[in-house]
Assembly symmetry: C2
Homo-oligomer: 457 residues x 2
């Protein structure tokens, strides 16, 4: 643990103490905190103390802290501080954070705050608000450094000296023509190392990885990650430079998507409140209920298989067979879940190409057959010893051996088909696939049982 | 899609064509490829063509491509090119990539290649090999820029001009004393904006977020993500600067951990071959089989509940009850999976503190009760209509209403308990929790059935 981590733990209590005393120590304490740590500390404060903290922070620090707060605390601040103060803070924010904040407010509130901003800043933020939040345009900032292709290295450094305090990322310097078309890129390092009089066009790299403003944020994240970039320029379809997506926002996208995928995979619709354990019972239940109801109806398929077959066995036999229903359905579900996870990751990392459907299904069939043979033999042995009935042992062992390849094929097939249909393979995959294998495993189990026995002693 | 993506698709075919023709176009084609794209193209080439490509790449480009190849292709290259050529390439690699490569080889191979390196480079790489691969030390590079606190801004820029081509990241400049103790940090931007004669100690920031060399890579990733850093310095316990972890490696860590978690959650032990669909059947089955066998035995618990109760019902009643076993177990599993996913994400994002166990379990109980009441009423209605039996409808509806709160409490409790035991909550969570709820749901179902009826017509 770094010393900073210890401070995080102590922070909230110390802050409350200092706020109550209200002396000069508070200013010093606030000044030395990292905005993200400060955001953690103030989120839980009551309204009066929250206002007291923001009254002591300058607009710049307020802007940084506001950018790190959760949505709920942000809405409180906006309500408590009033439009003039909030306008000052928004003025100091990076344009992408400012647009995110205003996008969360009602159109009236947003309009009032935009009215407080300087014309140029207001125009930039207003423009950002037009992009879909989940696209490159929605997460880009307009604070980047662009230089004209006509400049020299020296002139570019001079330009940077003046622009730097404003630009979120100066690690890449973009070279444009008079109409803002993206021509090339330079690192700050390229500029410093080059002789001062070198024209930019001689040192710029012309192969620039870029994204379109309407590209999905997940794709943008993948590109930044693939090419190890610190930022990626965002262009329109005429290759005009619009903004920049920075690597810190890319990490946020990756984490956000991971959360959403994990919830979706477990049949919870991720929404604003999806993962929020602080909500009321109804807010927590709402994103889960539609799935539970849909899956309930799907489970009737498995039930109806048993219903169809139950007439074919006498009472004692069916009673014995029913003991193994959870084992059969459970193992099929487990096997399918494994296959699904391996294939979903394979698709995500690009190790499996979509056209390899048949190869994947065939491989899962063989893995399932191997796993089925081994677990089937074990189940045969245990059952025969437990129930003292060789025929029952044979039925359940054989059924499991047949069940696993079917389950694994389905588990492998599902994400590929879903992916090909253009749906995120994470959607409800776990509960969905186990519900499907509940059906297939019952069908296999009772078919094997009907073929091998109709009466057991 | 950017134009680069189109090139990726066309690349492999074009490369093969150019290799077969062997003309000057090939050199131009190779020169303009990004190393990661080139790595994708050459991975699948046969040995002779692979060697042909590397013979045409200079050591620098070879180093970049080698760093992006998968483990298997890297081993092939090392085998095919021989230690002298590989030594030249390793010499050109960043030290962290070089250490990663050598760490994959046999000690003899690694020793031979180390022997080909210049003494200084060999010593640095050798040192990196001592750190555990999953720690800050294991993923750091020693190519960073450090300047002495006695320098001025101008001197530091001069130092950088000379060191820059070697350093992986010059975006942060670290300030150290004569004994390499980390004192502060400067951005390149700070240096450029400052008047040339300013002493570094007046402009450096002294609050440096840093990590210890033995800190887990996942923690390092969380810190870089939390503080939006481009790199984090790695220090020993005397605060001496050892190296730097860069944000691109952090993204790799986040993706690697996401893959491992997803596989573990689905009861696949992630190993070197865990997610590798190119392996043989046995290599694919091995990380799954132990879990399938363990879960098979756990499923016997659910089976033995049915076995215990089956004597208490007549044949027809039990046959009817068995129709609803998959529905009962399935919905309990789905409900538990949802709760588990929400709590796992809550723990990961820090929204749920570990001490909140009771609050979480209580909330899940109420969510489960609400979900149970709604799905229970639906099941009651459908069953009564389907089977024309009000008592059976009551039994299954009530059992489901009781099942879901139990399942959701278990789903919420499991990751917290596991986390408190210091185990990664992802471990086999999906299949494990559904196996547990198979047991609890059978217990609830048959208890309710035994209480409400022993005979159904």
């Amino acid at each position: 643990m770094s010393t900073r981590d210890v401070r995080v733990l102590e922070g909230p209590e110390k802050l409350r103490m200092l706020l109550e005393r209200g002396n000069g120590e508070l200013a010093a304490f606030l000044r030395e905190q990292h905005p993200v740590d400060l955001a953690d500390m103030v989120e839980e404060l009551p309204d009066d103390l929250l206002v007291a903290v923001f009254e002591r922070l300058g607009p710049e620090q307020s802007a940084l802290v506001l950018g790190e707060l959760d949505r709920e605390a942000r809405a409180r601040i906006v309500r408590l501080l009033g439009k003039e103060r909030v306008g000052d803070i928004v003025e100091a924010m990076d344009t992408d954070d400012a647009a995110d904040l205003l996008g969360e407010l009602s159109p009236e509130q947003a309009g009032q705050i935009l009215g407080e901003l300087q014309a140029e800043e207001a125009a930039e933020v207003r423009e950002l608000l037009h992009y879909e939040p989940d696209t490159a345009g929605g997460i880009m900032t307009t604070e980047y450094v662009a230089v004209n292709q006509g400049m020299t290295a020296q002139e570019a450094i001079e330009h940077l000296r003046q622009r730097a305090p404003d630009a979120e990322t100066v690690y890449y310097v973009y070279v444009v023509d008079d109409d803002e078309h993206l021509l090339g890129v330079l690192s700050l390092r390229d500029l410093i190392v080059a002789p001062p009089e070198t024209p930019l066009k001689h040192i710029m790299r012309t192969k620039v990885v870029s994204v379109f403003h309407d590209q999905d944020q997940e794709e943008v994240a993948r590109i930044v990650s693939r090419y190890d970039l610190l930022a990626v320029p965002v262009i329109d379809h005429q290759r005009r430079l619009l903004g920049v997506v920075t690597v810190d926002d890319v990490i946020d996208v990756l984490e956000e998507e991971a959360t959403e995928d994990a919830l979706r995979a477990a049949a919870v619709s991720p929404g604003e409140e999806g993962g929020d354990l602080r909500g009321g019972v109804w807010r927590l239940a709402r994103p889960r209920l539609p799935w539970l109801l849909a899956l309930l109806f799907m489970e009737f398929l498995a039930g109806s298989v048993i219903d169809r077959f139950r007439g074919g066995f006498d009472g004692v036999t069916l009673a014995l067979l029913s003991v193994f229903i959870p084992i059969m359905a459970g193992e099929a579900g487990n096997g399918a879940t494994q296959a699904l996870a391996v294939v979903v990751r394979g698709l995500a990392t690009g190790e499996i190409a979509e056209r390899e459907v048949l190869a994947v299904v065939w491989r899962e069939a063989r893995v399932g057959l191997l796993a089925g043979l081994i677990t089937g033999v074990v189940l045969f042995g245990v059952t025969t010893l437990w129930k003292g009935d060789l025929r029952l042992g044979l039925v359940v062992g054989l059924a499991l051996a047949l069940n696993l390849p079917v389950a694994k094929m389905l588990g492998g097939l599902f994400p590929i088909v879903i992916h090909r249909l253009g749906i995120d393979p994470a959607v409800a995959s776990g509960p969905f696939i186990t519900t499907v294998t509940d059906f297939t495993s019952m069908l296999t189990y009772f078919t094997v049982a009907a073929l091998l026995l109709t009466q057991l002693g």
